[in-house]
Subunit: 146 residues, 4 copies
């Protein structure tokens, strides 16, 4: 999967001393944006030049171990599934120093035009997503467990 390094900021911690749970969804956003950029086209360009938006239909995060202020983390992102109308990304958040996941998650997106109507992705975006790293089967399986 594509890996992007970042740090937990004070703004993201809570009174328990851990990164607040909603921020993982922001980290997933960063993960998929940086994965697309690494493939050659930013998500901003997907919106502005291809006229396609990818709103989130579903999001899930499983929290395995907390993260503290200033921890050096990595968000890994890959494609978990694709249909004509949707794409599902999977994520793994881990420490920069080790392979164990702190959290795993997934987001499901559909393709929408500027007027808010669902649409099929243009060929350039299809091609881009075909090049994307795939989420490993064991990650997808772990996310499908209830």
């Amino acid at each position: 999967m594509h890996a992007f390094a970042f740090r937990v900021r004070y703004a993201e911690t809570d009174a328990m001393g851990w990164a607040y749970y909603a921020h993982y969804l922001r980290w997933f956003e960063i993960g998929r944006a940086e994965m697309l950029r690494a493939l050659g086209r930013s998500y901003r360009s997907v919106e502005e030049d291809l006229g396609v938006l990818l709103p989130v239909r579903d999001a899930r995060c499983r929290y395995l171990e907390g993260a503290r202020y200033d921890d050096a983390l990595v968000v890994e992102t890959g494609v978990a599934a694709r249909t004509r109308a949707t794409v599902r990304f999977a994520y793994r958040v881990r420490r920069e120093a080790g392979p164990e996941a702190l959290a795993i998650g997934t987001t499901l997106h559909f393709f929408m035009d500027r007027s808010g109507r669902p649409r099929r992705p243009p060929a350039e975006l299809e091609a881009l997503l075909t090049l994307a790293p795939l989420a490993p089967p064991e990650l997808i399986a772990a996310l499908e467990t209830p």
Copy 2:
């Protein structure tokens, strides 16, 4: 379920014009806190007086319709499932003006003492959760669909 009214703030909107997806998890936090308060004990008191924390193990949100700046919304909260070691809450976000869900979601929590060890909830908290409104079966079913 317990209902708590709030408004979408500018800080919560994004460049698409909709409430950003991670904020729904913050709204879920508000929903469960206000549900507990309505039952007679604030979550703060659960932490401070009972010495029990409820970290999130798993969170999910399904987004059905977007929310705009200043929309008057309601977050409804109920208990979806309980075990000796965990409690699962379910949520429905809707407009104040109507019953259709904009989003549905769930969070799974375990009971932890201040030193970070899992523990069984004290009797007072058990009693409180027994009094909590139950999430309707159709909401739980909808959240179990992959």
Copy 3:
């Protein structure tokens, strides 16, 4: 000044145990939005129906005492100064239970049309702001101290 009650949410606390300093600017946003609503026209309607936006040019907050999770607070909002092109709001954050300020602050806004050009406010907005409560001189003076 106009008073609006709210609570500090877990999402807003940080690892020091206090509400994180940037959230006060969000609370100021809530304060001015609710002050406008109380005067008879929501900020959303100012944007949508009058076609005027009020971007922030300058913001300041002085932190006097911290706020903890679940604290019941009030944000008070008033007009501190007006010119043909700008309006300055002043704020005081206090506990619901007492008059002492936890924080005081100010934001300076200019009037902008949808195309991003500065403009004079329409008569309806002028009239609305004329009705707004005034920030007390001692609050304005306190905010002007370096």
Copy 4:
């Protein structure tokens, strides 16, 4: 001043299409944390190893030009003033591609021990701050204008 590059994330934009004003204070936090790290000791280590916290007493931001989603920005941080009990940092946010400031700001901090009492900074922290880059006089002057 110390320079740290970052991007505007979707989570940070608002319905106007610009980065929301409160997030600049988060970027200032990142700026001062990374400036300290570049000097040889992380802010986390200041808290954990030196036992000193630096709560914010005052924050100000002047917004000169908006930032859009995915804009590549830099936050520059330097020391603007020091007393025995406080330190003031100044900031400039600019595009990676150019020198013009999008925003300038300042935060005033005091030194506090873990029990919440003001204290003088230990010698190691004094030494660290003495090594810090200084904010240029024209930035300090610009921030002192009302």
